[in-house]
Amino acid sequence: MALQSLDIVRRSATTTPSPGVRGPATGEVAKLIDVSKCIGCKACQAACMEWNDLRDEIGTCDGTYQNPPDLSAQSWTLMRFTEYENPKGDLEWLIRKDGCMHCADPGCLKACPAPGAIVQYANGIVDFHEENCIGCGYCITGCPFDVPRISKKDKKAYKCTLCSDRVAVGLEPACIKACPTGALVFGTKEDMQHHAEGRVQDLQSRGFDQAGLYDPAGVGGTHVMYVLPHADQPQLYGGLPAEPRISAMVGAWKGFTKPLAVAGIALTALAALFHYLRVGPNETTEEDEAAAARELEKNHG
């Protein structure tokens, strides 16, 4: 989304400060997804389609309630359904609303080579500006949550915007507005953490000893958080990573090695220049030609 903004804290492929005079006076925002309250109605999916004018292809039923089967350029949020048999032998139907986590330390933004194609606002939202996107897919390589998708139609990368356009004018994201059970709530990150505390206590008092808040520190915390009844095993919920962080490979690829390599290339060129200035050209002399002519003469003369 192209959004005129003066409160950008980070901008992809940019080495100078971003326009950041406006701070988030009211604090950073966060979406809290309380998995224990979710009934899997997909109102959030429908609201996301409606607000963002997205219509995914009509697919086929794969035998589960999960539909479409995966996130796509047209489906920025998706209810992931998992049938889990707990140690007591009971079936638990785990439903998790998947989508961009809006990391404080976004792997997509770190990997992106196109200036301004990915930005992070002061309120914490990580947004793709598709008009600057070149379609390389590095954001997919960088993301610890496997969220961005390249559109087959225009080869640009898309994902949840946390309704940055709505939030910018004081509205809550479309999915929040549509949720009928209060499983989705939106506010400042601090408020959401506080709200989660109460939910976690409630769950623990009702037998979910391992209930907890999913706000992974490995990516600096996220602006989409989960209340999980089984917070000790986040993988149960449709493969939510237990300890997400930007991969060491991506760190090596996009970290300190890049400026070093650019310096290395510049130094190689400079070394060649200085070599020339010091040693000069290695020229074939008259004597070389004469010696060669003598040998030619000997052979053919």
Partner: protein, 219 residues
């Protein structure tokens, strides 16, 4: 030009080799520009030389394929002359100590010297790595077939191999264009002077005159 005197020259590269070399050189420059553009933000402006960021992303892998195929043809043409021999190692060892090109400690050089042969091997290795890793990170066609860990590794390998290739070619271009004068003719017209061959590649010069390769040309 103007001098119509008959001059003896020695053939170094034929038409096919020269045309292939320049296809390779052009493909390298375009691939390097579009690749470096995505390598570091400070070099993103280079993408405008191939039509912008999106065109860089679209064209770079195809240009890379042209470069790889062209390099493979070059390997077929000169690979056999680039095997390291004992005299090449000796030449590399003695070179830093040599006072002049005529230093008696330096062994005679064949068609390529030890440095050129090392360069050849470095180019071969980096081209192979660029091709393999490039296929893995070619998002439009191939990335979907590889697990994310392999894609991440390939991204690092691609950047590293590209860095080595660019630095190597800077060295190669410097030697041919500025340092060792008289080399360019070999890749433009296809000939060098007997004095050049005698000075820089004496063993090759002698093989040549024994085989009676020198020709008389009117320049």
């Amino acid at each position: 030009m103007g001098d119509t005197a008959q001059r003896t020259v020695i053939a170094r590269y034929n038409e096919r080799e020269r045309i292939n070399h320049w296809i390779l050189a052009i493909a390298f420059v375009l691939a390097a520009l579009s690749g470096l553009a995505l390598f570091h933000p400070s070099l993103y402006w280079m993408s405008s030389l191939v039509g912008g960021g999106t065109w860089s992303r679209i064209l770079h892998p195809f240009i890379g394929l042209v470069m790889t195929v062209s390099f493979a043809l070059l390997v077929l043409a000169v690979g056999k002359h680039n095997r390291m021999e004992e005299r090449d190692w000796k030449w590399l060892r003695e070179m830093p100590k040599a006072t002049s090109h005529d230093d008696p400690r330096l062994p005679e050089v064949g068609r390529y010297n030890g440095g050129q042969k090392i360069l050849f091997k470095v180019l071969l290795a980096s081209m192979a790595l660029l091709l393999l890793s490039g296929i893995v990170i070619w998002r439009s066609y191939f990335s979907a077939y590889f697990p994310i860990g392999v894609i991440r590794l390939a991204a690092v390998v691609h950047a590293l191999a590209g860095f080595v290739l660019v630095c190597s070619i800077i060295g190669h271009a410097y030697a041919a264009l500025f340092w060792v004068t008289g080399s360019m003719g070999a890749m433009t017209r296809g000939f060098v002077t007997p004095g050049w061959a005698w000075r820089h590649h004496r063993a090759w010069f002698r093989e040549n005159i024994r085989a009676a390769n020198p020709r008389t040309r009117a320049d």
